[in-house]
């Protein structure tokens, strides 16, 4: 029904309706019986009437104003019954799912009025909701990194509109797959086993579901997905040209030449079609440190390096100063955050009688960046001073090379060629060494052994390190386990069964293994440092919005407070001592982890996503008429063609008409009661 009017009444009703205006006429003329009122004298009134007769046409109009208003009201009501409206395709189907992309790129403002793409999407969904008939139902799902059901299936338009209003833009990346799976769960109900009857039947009837995807399409195609009952419709939102400058990388590292100072690296990408010049400002805790001007070629990147000098601590912020003549459509990616910390905050104690290979492996530059390694000789273990020290949490990791303490310290430990002085370890492990074990397997997935090749390592002799209950064997050999790891309270103990530099039978120091000559040796020790002491270097800077953040925290607090970039506070209970996981990372910026009023740690969440920052719609040349069209989506094996971005929906006029009729009725009533005032 693509007409201007939609008749909503039958002929009989129209006849009845058509009789109303003549009836009003009739009633109006019948009504005009003036009420007599006795007055002292008509002397003055006659004079008045004579005066007013001069402009009698206006008087006549004024007299029949009520009639005109009544007729106008009826006319408006009749017009409303005809349901006029602008034409657009009407909704077809019974059940609808509106998938609304709320990822970072949807915060782009394409138009001058400041409405974001998300606003446009909401507006269009709202127009569709308007058209829902009473027997149709719809649901709304938003998605960025995570899908979220904003409103389940309902035919209540008010609920749907409220749900629409609730949708807030997020800074996350786009992941259509999760949303599709969620929609799939609603649209394609699995066969459910009836518990009583052992019968297989469907709980709901299979029904086609219209899937409207509102997105700007910044995501890869979805592989291996079956749409089932879902009938997708892709409504792209946005423009082809993406006027956007973005910071796509921002990190800090120690200066290679001058290790005492740090440097910062900023990469700026230009997604516009012209070359742009922009200024990058670097701020530390709100204080301007440095700024530089970058010229970025169209579609390319430019980068700048800032030397921070003596600055070692604080929250870094890089801000892109957009030139005035450039309208940057997406403001979200014009700033980036990083946390500047003393990186070698991990402290490692190496207790060794002397082990050159190990010492050099632990003193590489990268190792220094991960942790500070202190070396002591095993004599110290006897002293009370060490006892006291090891029971406090000074060290993250203590490496016992060919020695063992009397009691276990409050730290992670790595034993080389010895077993921990714990009953659990001692009673399982055989005290006698085995000779020439051949490594047959190692846990490549464990972070300690990541990227290591150990098959070629020769070992003279080794203790077997059988872990107690709860531990894992990391390196297995023909003779038994060589490296294993086991938790102890909130620490972990690793035991490397073979010595690196052993003592031969005649008392001379000699290599027990050729491992130090392999590439895997320094890598292993770096892994050790990273795993036990360094740990979270990456997690302080490279966090993405809406993703889990894992942090190591010291101290014994069971609950910490996290201050979000906008100042909100969240209390987070530590699910595991010393390890903090935090989900609520929807905002970009610096998050502070606090215990009481003390800031324990800070971490940054950044967008850094070229896909999201490249805000133009993906396009391809249409082979037929050479026009640029929006690229289609590919879901599973189905190609979902983009609908025209300017698709219009029918806008009904009956509501304003009816409201107008009511307003006319009010005016008519008012004039009738207080005619004095016109």
């Amino acid at each position: 029904m693509d007409t201007l009017f939609r008749n909503s009444l039958g002929p009989t009703s129209w006849i009845v309706l058509g009789m109303i205006p003549p009836a009003i006429f009739a009633l109006y003329f019948l009504k005009l019986k003036r009420q007599p009122l006795e007055v002292p004298s008509t002397y003055l009134w006659h004079k008045v009437i004579e005066d007013l007769h001069v402009n009698s046409l206006w008087q006549r109009l004024r007299k029949s104003l009520l009639l005109l208003l009544q007729l106008l009201m009826v006319a408006l009501a009749m017009l409303a019954l005809l349901r006029p409206g602008w034409q657009g395709p009407s909704l077809r189907g019974q059940r609808f799912i509106f998938l609304i992309d709320k990822s970072a790129s949807m915060s782009t403002t394409d138009t001058a009025d400041g409405a974001t793409r998300l606003d446009q999407a909401k507006q269009r969904v709202d127009a569709l909701v308007d058209q829902l008939e009473s027997d149709m139902s719809a649901m709304i799902i938003t998605f960025a990194k995570q899908p979220d059901v904003v409103q389940e299936f309902t035919n209540n338009k008010r609920l749907l509109r409220e749900a629409l209003a609730r949708i807030e833009p997020s800074a996350g990346q786009t992941d259509l797959r999760g949303a599709l799976e969620l929609a799939d769960g609603f649209a394609n109900p699995d066969r459910v086993m009836n518990e009583e009857g052992d019968q297989d039947f469907e709980v709901t009837t299979q029904q086609d579901v219209e899937l409207y995807i509102f997105s700007d399409g910044r995501f890869p195609s979805v592989e291996n997905f079956s749409l089932g009952n879902l009938r997708p419709l892709f409504l792209p939102i946005g423009l082809f040209e993406g006027q956007n400058l973005a910071i796509t990388a921002f990190n800090t590292r120690r200066n290679e030449e001058r290790p005492e100072s740090q440097q910062t690296f900023v990469q700026v990408s230009n997604f516009a079609a012209q070359q742009q010049t922009a200024v990058v400002e670097l701020q530390l805790d709100g204080r301007l440190l440095d700024a530089t001007e970058l010229t970025i070629p169209p579609g390319g990147t430019a980068s700048a390096t800032f030397h921070l000098g003596g600055e070692n601590e604080g929250a870094l912020r890089a801000q892109l100063d957009i030139p005035a003549d450039f309208s940057d459509r997406l403001a979200l990616d014009n700033q980036a955050f990083a946390v500047l910390t003393e990186r070698s905050d991990g402290r490692v104690l190496l207790v060794t009688p002397g082990n050159r290979a190990l010492e050099s492996a632990l003193s590489t530059e990268r190792a220094n960046r991960l942790a500070k390694v202190e070396k002591v000789s095993p004599d110290l273990l006897e002293k009370a001073e060490f006892e006291a020290q090891s029971q406090t949490e000074i060290y993250d990791l203590i490496i016992f090379d060919q020695c063992a303490p009397k009691t276990m310290p409050q730290a992670h430990t790595l034993f080389i060629g010895r077993l921990p002085p714990l009953e659990d370890w001692q009673k399982i492990a055989a005290a006698e060494p085995v000779f020439a074990p051949q490594i047959i397997d190692w846990q490549r997935s464990h972070p300690l052994l990541g990227l290591l090749e150990l098959g070629n390592v020769q070992i003279a002799d080794s203790l077997l390190s059988r872990p107690p209950l709860g531990g894992r064997i990391l390196i297995d050999s023909t003779e038994g386990p060589l490296l294993s790891i086991a938790p102890r309270d909130r620490y972990e103990d690793a035991v490397l069964g073979f010595e690196i530099l052993g003592t031969a039978a005649d008392g001379t120091r000699t290599f027990n293994t050729d491992w130090p000559r392999k590439h895997s040796f320094p890598s292993f020790w770096l892994n050790v440092l990273e795993y036990f002491a360094g740990g979270e270097g990456a997690s302080l800077t490279h966090n993405r919005p809406d993703r889990l953040v894992e942090l190591r925290v010291t101290g014994s607090a069971q609950e910490l407070e996290i201050v979000l970039p906008d100042g909100q506070q969240r209390r987070v209970a530590l699910d595991q001592p010393g390890r903090l996981t935090f989900h609520d990372t929807g905002q970009l910026g610096i998050y502070q982890v606090r215990e009481g009023s003390q800031v324990k740690k800070q971490f940054a969440v950044n967008l850094f996503d070229r896909e999201e920052s490249d805000i133009g719609l993906r396009s391809r040349q249409d082979s037929e008429d050479g026009l640029k069209v929006v690229d289609s989506l590919s879901i599973g094996y189905v190609d979902v063609a983009a609908q025209s971005p300017t698709m219009r929906v029918r806008r009904e006029l009956w509501k304003p008409l009816l409201i107008g009729a009511l307003a006319v009725l009010m005016v008519e009533w008012y004039i009738y009661n207080r005619r004095v005032y016109i």
Binding site: Q35, P40, Q59, I678
Partner: protein
Amino acid sequence: MPTASESKLLTPELLNQLERLELVTRKVFRGRMKGERRSKRKGQSVEFADFRNYVAGDDLRLLDWNLYARLDKLIVKLFLEEEDLHFYTLIDASLSMDFGSPTKLEYAKQLAAALGFVGLIRTDRVRIETLGQGVSERGPILRGRHSVWRMLEHVEAIQPDEKPVTLSEGVKNFCLRNAGRGVVVLISDLMDKAGYEHALRYFVSHQVDCFVIHVLSQEELEPDVKGDLKLVDCEDQDEAEITVSAPLLSRYRQTLNSFVAGAQDFCGRRGIHYFLANNQLPVQELVAQHLRRRGLVR
């Protein structure tokens, strides 16, 4: 004054105030009896007026013997005569006056009674009449404080006149009835389709000190009407159809204002005192403040 206090026309408070007042006239008239007012006549009082030569027949008691001794001439000493004042009140008792709350007629009667009382206690000759009275039907002439009761009785007996009399007819009859000069107070709404001008000219030619108190009701000053109406004149049953609207009402106000202004102007040019009275204004206040300021009472 026990009799007057029982009347609803004059309350004791009003009487108290009126006791202190007296009627004033700018003109000097000849009275009929000995009174308290200066007359054109020379006569007996304590106030010296003039000397004149003695002519035979003059009362020897009036000779100024001191002058005779000095000048050897017979000179008569003349004194001002103090006489009473004619005070007429003419009430328009037409049907149109029977409107408003209180009705304009009630208001007029109360005003007449108040002024009459002032006249009586100053020993003036008070006569209260209505427009409808014929040439031969005269009202009683009252004089002296003891007549207050009679005056009140007379005023209270005034009822709206069923037979319509035009203003000019009534005034003409009044002038024919009363030859005596004095103060005339006309209390009317002046709503006469033939116009009030002719009527007022009678007063001018009759050489009286005339006061016109134009009584209008609140309903006439600020009409509270709405809708489509057929206005019926209560006197001649004339009809006027109106549809009330803001321009109509504003036009009515303009017309009323020009009517009042016209009357005021007409009276002002002819030495007639004009005063517009709203029936919502208490008589007490009207007499004690407004009419006092305008010089009818003192």
